[in-house]
Each structure stands twice: as structure tokens, then as C-alpha cells.
């Protein structure tokens, strides 16, 4: 019966109560949303590269190497000479090695020179291979290119279109005399590959014939036939991805590369470099989570404020309950129950809103940021967060409950409104 009365009392104050529920629900949405994006980002980053044991580049930071080779963020400070590359490729530990050459761009997209073997060995999201949704990935001709799905969609390319590749990143000089042909368009992967134009290493060399230090050498123009006859082996590459014959040999190979005497090189394991990246990003994440936790605290403070301001109006209600024989503890219990009920409803609403936002927004987020948010039942963290919020609401309601207790003792039967 008391339960029924408490519910009826809440219903009588439906407007204020629903505002409190909404406030807390929105703060829960913010908290769970950020947590979801955080884990989504991590999973997405971790999904970007798999089955690659080592990444080799010029010596710099391991995070930097990972960022520019895999995520196309930032630039290489230096190159790896072809000799070094060959020497590493000849090591017995190396099962496969794929060179990568970066530095050119096509509109806002990066151009990556590599070998057709890239499509055999590059794996994402737990071992999935790249596949063409139209055309093929053979890179059979010198001027063939395979483009990511975002490139195709943004620029409206079809298989067979001809495109011009510029030298450098965000450059005004276009290598206009040598158009490439779109030979294949890849399926969506949710990785930076979607935003990459892939050509052969030789093609990267080819477009730089007649160019020096980023500028065209005046008066020189080599014909396409001549270029096709030239030796287009590159002098240097940006980085290389390596798979070892056995996981046990990763460390041995890594040490060998890091101690390589020919030039300063760095070999990193993608997983470990990611861990290092998380340590940096973790700081920002913690700040973000801290802010959203503060929003939850603010919402709970709002609930306490609402209960406090309601107490005076409800003095009569409490005096009646007391006169009928309710103990002060019953009054306190009712207020705590009320706060717990409000918080529970709010948390569940917040959870529902989070899922609704995920369902409606995930397509857009994927499109805009290449981030595929997973929709899974609430995990341990989410449940812990929600339980904590409900408990915090119950504890916070002790303040107004204590005041109601004092009031009900002091008022006796005197309250007259």
C-alpha cells in the first residue's frame, strides 16, 4: 500500500519528476555514449591492422611510425633505402614483406605505393582480407590504381576512370601528363584504406621522372614509352610491413632491425605501439569521462535540489503519514525509495536513449569518421556505471530525507497550510 501511495505521489508530481528523470537520463546518455565511442574507437583502431607482426620505418617514435604507416596520420621523417629493404626481406625470419611508399596525394586522399602482395597480406578486423567491390586488385599495369570506397564515393569514380595524381601532399603541381586508370574499387573496411589511393611502387617512381625536389625540371619531358622501358626500382621506400615465419622470431627480427648498422631503422609491433598510443589518448579520454561524470553528479544534485524544494510542499503529506502512525524511518524510507525509483527509471531511459542513438546514428558516424560502433548488450562497465548512479541517488537522497526526518519530529501535528 505504501508502494502504491509512493507511486501515486510521484504521479501527482509527474512534471517535475519527469524533468528530473530526463535530466539524469541525458547525463547517462552522455556518459554511456562517450564510453561507447571510446571503446568503439579503440576497437576500430585495433581492427585496422591484424596479422602484421612488425612495421619497419626510419627511426622515429613507435607511435609516430604506426600513425603514418597504418593510419595515414602525420608524415615520415625519413625513408628506408631499397638496399636496407632488400636486406631485411632476405632475413630467414621474414615470411612476407610488403613495402609502402607514401608522400603523394590525390585531392584530399593519400596515395600509397606498394606491391600487389599488399592485397594478399594486409588484414583488418581480426584477419579479414581486402576485396574489390568492382574491378580487381591485380595492379597489372604500371598506371593502374586501386582506390578505397570513400575515395570512389567522394570523388564519384567508377572503374575505368582516369585520374591525376599530384606530387606531395596538398600540392598544386599535378602530374597531369600521366593519368592513372581506376582498375579496382575496394569494399568498405572501416579503416584508413577506405581513404587511400593505391598504386604500384614503380608507378610512384614513374610519376617522378622529370621531377626534382618537388618541381618540374624545365624542358624535360619523357614519353610514356620511354618510361615503360626504364628501370623503375625505387631508391627508397617509406616503410614496410612484415610477417614472420614464426611468432617466436618476431623479437629476434625486431632486435636485428633496430640494431641495423646501415641506417637508423625502427621495427615496432603494431599491437604494442597501439598500447603506447592508448596511453597518450587515455589522458584525453579520462578528461572526457571526468566531464561526463561531473554532468551525472550535476544531474543528481538537481534531483536532491528538487527533493529539497518539494519537502516544504509535502510537509503536510508527511505530517499526515506521521499522524497515521508512520515512523520517521518510514518517511525517510519513502524519500530514499522515491529517489532510487527516479534514478532507476532515469538510468533505464538513458540506456534506451543510448541504444536509440546508436541505432540511428551509427551509419552517420561510420560515414563521417569511418568508425563502426558496435551495438552490444550493456557490458560490465555499463552495468557498474548504472548501478553506481542509482546508489549515488539513494545516498544523495539521505540529505533531504534527513531534513524530512527532522521536520517530521519538530512539526508534530502543528503543520497547517
Amino acid at each position: 500500500m505504501l508502494l502504491r501511495l509512493a507511486l501515486a505521489s510521484l504521479r501527482a508530481r509527474a512534471l517535475t519528476v519527469s524533468m528530473a528523470v530526463l535530466t539524469i537520463a541525458l547525463s547517462v546518455l552522455l556518459l554511456l555514449g562517450i564510453e561507447n565511442i571510446r571503446t568503439g574507437t579503440r576497437a576500430s583502431f585495433a581492427d585496422t591492422i591484424s596479422n602484421t607482426d612488425l612495421i619497419v620505418g626510419a627511426r622515429s617514435g613507435s607511435v609516430q611510425l604506426l600513425l603514418y604507416t597504418v593510419f595515414r596520420i602525420g608524415n615520415a621523417t625519413n625513408n628506408v633505402t631499397w638496399e636496407s629493404y632488400r636486406e631485411i626481406a632476405d632475413r630467414p625470419e621474414v615470411d612476407w614483406i610488403v613495402p609502402i611508399s607514401l608522400g603523394d596525394s590525390h585531392h584530399q586522399f593519400r596515395v600509397m605505393g606498394t606491391t600487389p602482395a599488399f592485397f594478399d597480406h594486409y588484414k583488418y578486423r581480426g584477419g579479414r582480407a581486402l576485396a574489390a567491390r568492382s574491378g580487381n586488385t591485380a595492379l597489372g599495369d604500371l598506371y593502374d590504381t586501386v582506390i578505397g570506397t570513400d575515395v570512389a564515393e567522394t570523388l564519384g569514380y567508377q572503374t575505368g576512370d582516369e585520374i591525376i595524381i599530384s606530387h606531395g601532399i596538398a600540392s598544386f603541381y599535378e602530374h597531369e601528363d600521366r593519368p592513372f586508370r581506376v582498375a579496382g574499387i575496394l569494399e568498405k573496411t572501416g579503416t584508413p584504406i577506405d581513404r587511400t589511393v593505391i598504386v604500384t611502387l614503380e608507378a610512384i617512381e614513374a610519376i617522378h621522372v622529370d621531377w626534382s625536389s618537388g618541381a618540374r625540371i624545365p624542358g624535360r619531358s619523357t614519353s610514356e614509352e620511354e618510361i615503360r622501358r626504364m628501370d623503375l626500382t625505387p631508391e627508397a621506400i617509406t616503410a614496410a610491413m612484415i610477417g614472420t615465419t614464426s611468432r617466436l622470431e618476431i623479437f629476434q627480427l625486431q632486435r636485428w632491425i633496430n640494431e641495423y648498422r646501415g641506417e637508423p631503422l625502427l621495427a615496432v609491433m603494431p599491437g604494442l605501439a597501439l598500447q603506447e598510443l592508448w596511453q597518450i589518448v587515455g589522458l584525453a579520454e579520462t578528461a572526457l569521462l571526468g566531464v561526463s561524470a561531473m554532468v551525472v553528479v550535476t544531474a543528481l544534485a538537481g534531483l536532491v535540489a528538487m527533493t529539497f524544494s518539494g519537502l516544504n510542499e509535502r510537509r503536510r503529506e508527511m505530517a499526515i503519514l506521521r499522524a497515521m502512525g508512520a515512523r520517521p524511518a518510514t518517511i525517510v524510507g519513502l524519500l530514499i525509495f522515491e529517489a532510487t525509483l527516479i534514478a532507476t527509471a532515469a538510468v533505464l531511459l538513458g540506456l534506451a536513449l543510448t541504444y536509440a542513438a546508436l541505432v540511428t546514428g551509427r551509419g552517420w558516424v561510420d560515414e563521417q569518421y569511418g568508425l563502426w560502433l558496435t551495438i552490444a548488450p550493456p557490458g560490465g562497465v555499463e552495468i557498474a556505471v548504472m548501478v553506481t548512479i542509482v546508489l549515488a541517488a539513494a545516498v544523495a537522497s539521505l540529505l533531504p530525507a534527513w531534513r524530512a526526518y527532522r521536520m517530521s519530529l519538530a512539526d508534530g501535528m502543528i503543520v497547517r497550510i
Binding site: M1, L5, S9, R316, M324, A326, T330, I414
Partner: protein, 233 residues
Amino acid sequence: MTGPVLEIVDLCFRWPHQAGRGLVIPELHVGRNEKVLLFGPSGSGKTTLLSLIGGIVSPQKGTLRVAGTDLSELSARYRDRYRAENVGIIFQQFNLLPYAKVSDNIALPLRFAPERRARVPNVETAIRDLCASLALPEGIEDQPAHRLSVGQQQRVAVARALIGTPALVLADEPTSALDANSQARFLDLLFGQVTQAGSALIMVSHDERLARLFDEVIRIEDIVPGTQENPCS
């Protein structure tokens, strides 16, 4: 049970945290089944006395015996229980939980009083009978209390005070919110029901005209010796 329903000897009470406000009563007796009018001007301590008798507050000194139980010997918890079991209370106005149904309002004291609840074999029937004898319209039990007129609310309060026939009914100026006609009718119904239930009635009022209806009239000035500057000292 025999003996007086209310017995006060050398009682002294002071509100906590409110310097100077309090009550000193050397002696007061109310017999069983008596209807007593407690009469006095506003601010003379009538409501404080009702709070004491109801066991909502506890005296600092003296004896306060209601229906044979010495309240000053009970812990706060048992005083609340005692009140639920033995006392029906009618306020001046705003008696009811406005959001709750009339039937829930009437049944409310039974929730805190198992013995009193045991005296009511069928709560629904009891509520319907009480409403009918208090001339409340049929089907009112399912209405939310805030829909009722003031007069109806006061009569529902009587039903609530009498359900399970407590030994004592306390009424704090229950007619002050009613017009003259309704007052008379209300008192008729109240007295009828109290008599039928066999309860004693202590009613507080500042309206002297009501005196003739009661077995006994106690002037608060007669039992409280003057205004106490600092009671219980």
C-alpha cells in the same frame, strides 16, 4: 478496560529548538467514552496537547497515560505504533493525501496498526459502510481525494479516524473550514459514529457555541497555569 482514557499528572513539555514555547499541565483526566471539548484561544497550546496525547512528541517530565499506557515509558518507535493502534486523528483541513484514492486514505492507519487491522474483517466493506453512514456519495471510495469538496474530505477523515474503532479520537478544530450548516451536520455525523464505535473524543476548538454538545468542556486556561516563560526549568 476501565479507568480514564486520558490521565495527565505534572506534565511539562518544551518544543525542541524553540526557546520558551511549551506547556505545563498539573492535572487532566478524561473518562472512557467521554466527549470532551478542549477550548481555548489560538496559541494557547491546544494543538501541542493533541500532539502529546497522540504520542507524536514526548513530554520532558510528568505522567501521560492514554488508555492505560504510559506514553513516557515508550520508545519513539512504540509511541508511533501505539498511536496507529489507539488514536484516530482528524485535522482542521487538508486531512487527506490528495493524490491517493479515498479508500487508500481511509485504510492508511491500518497499514501501521496490525491489531487495529485485525479488528476489521473486511476492509473494503468497512470502508463502504463508513462512507455510507457518513452520508458520502456512493462510489466515492475510488475517487482521488483531491476531487472531493472540503466537507466531503472532512467526513472521509472521520471515516479514517474511526476505521478499526480506536479507543480515542482526536479532532483538531475539524469544523473550522466548514460553513455553519455543514458544521452542524458534520458534528452530528461525527458524534453518531464516535458513539457507535465506543471511542472517546477529544476535540479542540475556539468556538464556545459547540460546548453544549459535549459531556465535558475543559478550558485550557484552567489546566495550564499562565504562560510559562521557560517551562520544564
